[in-house]
């Protein structure tokens, strides 16, 4: 058991949808905010469509787009 924070982010290649027991694959996804929609490629479960957003993406590129849209 790890008791401290784990600085290494998960590697998308190691991720498996627990419900479908299927490895995630990169697929086409729509990201939306404030009425604007952008196509992006993200890891997702090919069976049930569960999309994975990494911390890196959420606090990096996504945050930038959110803030830019909020200031329009």
């Amino acid at each position: 058991m790890t008791t401290s924070t784990d600085p290494t982010p998960p590697n998308p290649e190691d991720l498996i949808c627990a419900k479908c027991d299927t490895p995630l694959r990169i697929g086409k996804v729509l990201a939306s905010y404030m009425g604007q929609t952008f196509p992006v490629d993200l890891p997702l479960c090919p069976t049930c469509g569960f999309v994975y957003v990494s911390e890196d993406l959420a606090e990096g590129r996504m945050l930038k787009v959110e803030q830019a849209l909020e200031d329009k």
């Binding site: 790890t2 590697n11 991720l15 627990a18 939306s32 959420a58 959110e66 200031d71």
Partner: protein, 779 residues
């Protein structure tokens, strides 16, 4: 915010007013800017500033009678900056001066100037630069004859005169010496001059002008009658330089230059058919005054030149230039970490905010700046004209909300927290048990309830013990977050709800423990009688045994920003603390206290600025701080400054722990406290049937992750909800390498992600983050 209002606000900020030296200079030389450049050794830049305005820099640099020094504000702190001496070194260092160039004029006019003194030659230079054909007629053998007689060569070197006359020559000005202009219509007569030229300047210097009497009017003293501003005479084509005022006035070289310049400006207007009396912006600024706080500058004596006859060396001139403060107001910018973070001052900020609000398409770059003001009122307190940036920012926020342009992420979390504190999880109101009315109602405020619920219980018990007639309790939110966020409608809802609750309690007087609540009631619900808890406590005293263990402490007292003008409360708090034999130190005067970063919701919209504000305040004194606002205390604690609440002194922790070391409870801790306080009070005092909330899931969050969650505004409840949903539905991701589980849940406007590990003790959290965008696979 209409443009008229914006202009009124801008006009009240004096920062862009010219400094006293520039104001006093007949040519408005930017002495402050020039000294600043010399101070850094930028001789070329300094000379460029000087020569842009001064027509004969080499000459004036040696003989200027420097009215600037008389008004220099450094005079009140060691002696005026010796600007003229610095200028002399400057022009000597900057030789040879750059040659001025004349503008190409499509229709050059012929101008005659009578008299080759400083005034006449200034008019000649100015008009030649504009491209006109200028001829100067001088009775003496040389131009500037008077200067050659009046000043010894070590004061005004002939080389300086030669350089400046050379520049005049390169402008194409023709000087005819030994040519005396007489009255009448002879070949050298004034009438002839007027007939053969488009305009004439009479720059005669001292002496009477009887010869010209038939052509132009003379004043009683025998001189030509000249309008002192426009330099117009009775003849429309003739303008006067040179005399500068009545007989007996002291000779001023810089005054002569100004008169020549005014004549040239008027001729230019006359030739274009424009009004002579139209004043330019510079003249309008005359008499304006830049506020300068002299007391903040230690006296420094003037630099003495090692060789007084030679004047300053460049090093000496740089040292003297460094004595320039320089004059600025910036009283608010110096006091406010928000304004200094944005390196701005009200005049500029107001314009920027107005422009931001006016944007139809494009980026609203000032949104975050508008949301970074704590609305604390310090700027208007230190401003010489009481300009309140908080009012401007608040109005801007209200307009942003109304027009749908307020960025949701700035205040969303704070408003959801307010909603929680107003919800039935936390809020309630009751008469004292056994009473069907209240003479007073205690309003502890959501932050005291959240930070130290035990103190609310103790205080309420104490008030019930000492006060007669039924003391009600109203645990609720005053609506400050809605007001600060510019949410006018939501704030109206909060007020309506508070009014209804107050009415249902029989309209009793409200006693607040929180300075924000006090000010919100006072400003927005004037129908409700309200008073502060602290003066009341000086009347009724503390419970027996209060304040044990506090004696002998030395604490520096921090007043909350919303209470900067509440002198009665400030006095009461000091009396109460001293009653525990605590030695108090003042950080600043209470009126000049700063915000803790919570005001105006800045800690949500701009944590960087909020932290700068609280850190700046925390650094002011080394002692532990004493506060009487729960939010101030927690913010100091969050930034590592030891701080004690007055109630910590009165009711110290029973476990003997150090109250000044009590950590910031954080947003999740605050919510839990509010919920638990309601359950405790209703169960223990009103004997209502309350059940403790069942923990939905056992979640273990290491301290480092908890701190990250606090920074990212993610609540423990949200993390727990993600885990509970994932474990219930089975919708989750597994990391094959680490065995960690990754799950997500959309709660309100935010999607929360949690990476955790199922252990025997519960779910151990490794990571939590969120985003506002939504993602979905296209259908």
């Amino acid at each position: 915010m209409d443009s008229d209002h914006v202009r009124t606000l801008e006009a009240r900020c004096v920062e862009e007013h010219p400094p006293a030296c520039q104001n006093a200079c007949p040519l408005h030389v930017d002495a402050r800017g020039m000294l600043g450049k010399i101070g850094t050794g930028d001789v070329a830049g300094a000379f460029a500033l000087y020569a842009r305005v001064v027509p004969f820099p080499a000459i004036i640099g040696h003989i200027c009678d420097h009215p600037c020094e008389t008004v220099c504000r450094r005079g009140e702190a060691g002696g005026p900056v010796r600007i003229a001496a610095v200028e002399r070194t400057l022009v000597e260092e900057a030789y040879p001066s750059p040659r001025p160039t004349a503008r190409r004029q499509t229709k050059p006019r012929r101008i005659a100037i009578v008299g080759a003194g400083l005034s006449g030659l200034t008019a000649a230079a100015d008009l030649a630069r504009k491209g006109h054909r200028v001829t100067v007629f001088e009775a003496d053998a040389h131009p500037l004859e008077r200067l050659r007689h009046d000043y010894p060569e070590d004061r005004l070197p002939p080389s300086a005169i030669a350089v400046d006359l050379g520049a005049l020559d390169s402008l194409g000005v023709v000087i005819q010496c030994r040519t005396r202009i007489t009255g009448g219509s002879g070949p050298r007569g004034l009438e002839t001059l007027i007939d053969t030229h488009d305009a004439v300047v009479l720059a005669l210097g001292p002496g009477v002008a009887q010869d010209f009497a038939p052509t132009i009017h003379l004043a009683d003293n025998g001189r030509i009658a000249i309008d002192s501003q426009s330099r117009a005479t009775s003849h429309p084509k003739v303008f006067g330089g040179g005399f500068h005022g009545a007989l007996g006035e002291n000779y001023s070289p810089i005054g002569s230059v100004r008169d020549g310049r005014r004549a040239a400006t008027s001729i230019d207007r006359f030739l274009q058919g424009a009004s002579l009396t139209a004043t330019d912006a510079r003249e309008e600024a005359e008499g304006s005054c830049l506020y300068v706080n002299i007391t903040s500058h230690a006296p420094v004596p003037p630099t003495e030149p090692s060789n007084p006859k030679a004047g300053y060396t460049l090093d000496e001139a740089m040292a003297e230039a460094d004595r320039c403060f320089p004059c600025h107001c910036l009283e608010c910018t110096k006091a406010c970490a928000f304004l200094s973070h944005y390196r701005t001052y009200p005049k500029r900020a107001v314009r920027e905010i107005h422009n931001n609000l006016s944007i139809i398409m494009g980026n609203r770059k000032a949104n975050r700046m508008i949301d970074s003001c704590t609305l604390c009122g310090l700027c208007e307190t230190v401003c010489p004209t009481d300009l309140a940036m908080g009012d401007v920012c608040l109005q801007a926020r209200q307009e942003m909300v109304a027009s749908g342009h307020m960025p949701a992420s700035h205040h969303d979390f704070a408003l959801r927290d307010m909603a929680d504190s107003r919800s039935e999880r936390s809020a309630f109101a009751r008469h004292q048990p056994g009473f069907d009315q209240s003479t007073l109602v205690f309003f502890p405020g959501c932050q005291l309830a959240a930070s130290s619920p035990g103190h609310v219980e103790r205080l309420y018990a104490h008030l019930r013990d000492r006060m007669k007639g039924g003391i009600g309790l109203m645990v609720d939110c005053c609506g400050a977050p809605a007001h600060w966020a510019g949410q006018t409608d939501l704030h109206g809802e909060v007020r309506a709800h508070l009014h209804r609750t107050w009415t249902s309690l029989g309209e009793p007087e409200i006693v607040t423990a929180c300075a924000s609540c006090l000010s919100m009631f006072r400003a927005h619900m004037p129908e409700i009688p309200v008073r502060s808890l602290w003066p009341l406590l000086t009347e009724i005293g503390w419970p027996k045994g209060a304040g044990q263990g506090s004696a002998g402490k030395t604490l520096a007292i921090h007043d909350p920003c919303v209470g900067r003008h509440e002198t009665e409360v400030q006095r009461a708090v000091r009396t109460l603390a001293r009653g525990f034999d605590v030695t108090l130190e003042e950080i600043s005067s209470p009126e000049l206290t700063t915000c803790c970063g919570f005001g105006g919701l800045v800690s949500f919209a701009n944590p960087e600025v909020a932290n700068a504000i609280v850190d700046q305040r925390a650094a002011e004194r080394s002692e532990d701080y004493l506060t009487y606002c729960a939010m101030c205390r927690d913010n100091f604690a969050r930034r590592g400054k030891r701080a004690t609440h007055l109630l910590d002194l009165a009711f110290p922790p029973t476990d003997g722990s150090d109250p000044a070391a009590r950590p910031d409870p954080g947003f999740s801790g605050r919510r839990d406290s509010r919920t638990r306080l309601r359950i405790h009070l209703l169960r223990d005092i009103w004997e209502e049937d309350m059940t403790d909330p069942e923990p939905a899931w056992t979640v273990i969050i290491p301290d480092a992750i908890r701190a990250e969650m606090e920074r990212k505004l993610i609540l423990v409840d949200e993390v727990t909800a993600v885990i509970a949903a994932a474990e219930t539905s089975g919708q989750k991701i597994k990391d094959a390498k680490t065995g960690h589980v990754i799950a997500t849940l959309r709660t309100g406007p935010v999607t929360t992600w949690v990476e955790y590990e199922n252990t025997a003790e519960g779910a151990l959290v490794h990571r939590a983050y969120g985003h506002r965008m939504t993602v979905e696979v296209p259908s």
